[in-house]
Amino acid sequence: MTQLTRKEEASAEIFTPQGTLPADPIFNNVVKVAGLAVIGVLIWITLVVAGDSLPAIRQFGFGFLTDSNWDPNSDQFGGLSFVFGTVATALIAMAFAIPIGLGIAIFLTEDFLPEAVLTPISFMVELLAAIPSVVYGLWGIFVMIPILRPLLQWLSGGSSSGYGLFTAGLLLSIMVLPTVASISREVLKSIPRSLRNASLALGATRWETIFRVMIPAGTSGIVGACVLGLGRALGETMAVTMVIGNAPEIPKSIFAPAYTIAAVLANEFGEASGELHLSSLFFAGFLLFVITLLVNILAEIFVRRVSLERQ
């Protein structure tokens, strides 16, 4: 018995010509430092962003969240239109991406088509994630908007120019689609085969099995996929900037130009003049931080509740 433990200890040592090194403690510490560094960087970023937004917080306080007047010329800054635009585009994106992404995931995990056909399809869906966002933006300007314009103009009674909230949301939905689809597919694939077989054996049809067994069994993973997608949609900058119209106002219709937090940061940071302007941009960035955090917390609570109910 004692011999065995000694052997185990010995296995955790690195032999060098100079002697032995204790491998476990070294590895342990390296991992510890790496783990703490991640947390450290997060806290550091938060502190810097919060610190630099202090002048704006002092000046505007909660009014920043209820005011949509953004006027750098007279030092009046309100962030409501950006917060609204960020949340609205992300929600539009998810409204398209969740059903389509989940549909792709189901299609790829059921045996509708032979594996030889499905593999290239799933590869191509994942390839969508590899396209740089500026390319999505250009594609939006040069391909998507000209195609959509007649429809948007008809829907908006002639006032739409093609750029706006809806266009940005739609483009975002394509960008988050691979995240939602590929993770959902992995989740559905990992559900034990016995579950679906049992359901089919009880006389359930394929669709009953999908909607009553497979999707409920994968809920937590699918929600995770959606949250990751939502995270990308909230923070996406370049592509949104290029198609949203960049108008700092609460849009009167879903087809009107709007603005997001990430887009205003990208546009105005370089030439921000005056401390209050810069600080207000930091404040907006801080709000984006808070929104993302809230989304993640809500998702976590939701996933926990679902898995508790299951037990």
């Binding site: 007047n69 953004w70 006027d71 750098p72 010329n73 007279s74 300007i141 040069f142 908007i145 000209p146 002639g158 006032s159 120019s161 093609g162 750029y163 900037t241 290029m242 119209g245 960049n246 108008a247 700092p248 130009p257 603005y259 887009a263 990208a266 546009n267 105005e268 370089g270 030439e271 921000a272 003049s273």
Partner: protein
């Protein structure tokens, strides 16, 4: 054993390489490195200048980061660069924040063109002063508005909504454009004012001159303002605008030179030509400035920068027209050179 031999060989090669490279490294250390940052509008010309100057003076290397006028002002104030650049010069407030006296040196000038995309309407649409301001204030919303038709009796204007396009990022171009609108329209001055970013009454925001140019090309019924260089590079139709004397003038280098010709320059050389007089003047023009401390910390850098500035203000000016910038009038060049002489 094999690995050790390999490592040793690699090490020997590395040492040899360093030995070979060291004279080059030493030489590079002797050479003068000047760093600047700021405005994007003059970047093509500055890049050309630095390249040509480096060809003639291989020991002087000038780096320029086009981070925007605001960034350029910040960096020169903090002394993290040797020179800054700005399309809006510096305000008295900004000058007061700097730890020393900053000289504002006009280097070149350019025009801001108004471009449009209206089904089949060629270059040269005439927009009078009231109409231009009216469109950007959101008061004129259709292309066949009587106010536009009045000055363009020969043009068939469609019954189409006007999509106003403007810069979303803070920019010197916006400053020049809004400064002109403030000069020609009291309502604009009251409601919006002038600045590098303003609260626009209407319109779609696009990033950069190229962004506005692309958005105008892609959106039927749109109108936008861009540096005239971008308009001619992209062969976009440009409007002829009404100047102070009521004449309609197309953007051109001659139009800019004419606009600057009669301008009186104050001692600090900061002048915004919001609404130039003269019959041949193009109405929307602007200068762009280099920002330099009159007393620089490093003597060698001060001398190097002075020599470059003198070159840019003499030989350098000839590179401007090819890149769609207007050379400065001789009277102004003389003033700027006097200013450069103060640098120590």
């Amino acid at each position: 054993m094999q690995t050790q031999k390999w490592t040793r060989r690699a090490f020997a090669t590395l040492v040899a390489l360093i030995a070979i490279a060291s004279p080059i490294a030493l030489q590079a250390a002797n050479a003068l490195d000047l760093n600047g940052a700021g405005a994007t509008f003059p970047e093509p010309l500055y890049k050309k200048w630095f390249f040509e100057y480096n060809k003639k003076n291989p020991d002087v290397k000038i780096n320029y980061q086009a981070i925007g006028s605001g960034g350029g002002i910040n960096q020169i104030t903090k002394k993290t660069v040797d020179f800054g650049a700005s399309d809006a010069a510096m305000t008295d407030e900004e000058l007061a924040k700097a730890p020393g006296k900053i000289l504002m040196l006009p280097m070149t000038s350019g025009a801001v063109a108004v471009t449009y995309n209206v089904g089949g309407v060629p270059s040269g649409l005439k927009l009078d002063r009231e109409t231009l301001a009216g469109i950007y204030r959101g008061r004129i919303v259709k292309w066949n508005d009587p106010k536009i038709a009045k000055t363009n009796p020969d043009v068939k204007l469609p019954n189409q909504s006007i999509s106003v396009v403007r810069r979303a990022d803070g920019s010197g171009t916006t400053f020049i454009f809004t400064n002109h609108l403030s000069a020609i329209s009291p309502e604009w001055k009251r409601d919006v004012g002038s600045g590098k970013s303003v609260k626009w009454p209407v319109g779609l925001g696009a990033k950069g001159n190229d962004g506005v140019a692309a958005q105008v090309q892609q959106t039927p019924g749109s109108i936008g303002y861009i540096e005239s260089a971008y308009a001619s590079q992209n062969k976009l139709p440009v409007a002829t605008l009404q100047n102070l004397e009521g004449k309609f003038v197309a953007p051109s280098i001659e139009g800019v030179s004419a606009a600057l010709e009669g301008t009186k320059f104050p001692e600090n050389l900061r002048v915004f030509v919001a609404d130039p007089d003269g019959p041949k003047s193009y109405p929307i023009v602007g200068l762009t400035w280099l920002l330099v401390y009159d007393k620089m910390d490093d003597k060698a850098k001060a001398d190097g920068l002075k020599k470059f500035l003198d070159w840019a203000l003499t030989d350098g000016q000839k590179y401007a027209p090819a890149l769609e910038y207007a050379p400065l009038p001789a009277s102004l060049l003389k003033l700027v050179k006097q200013s450069v002489a103060q640098v120590q």
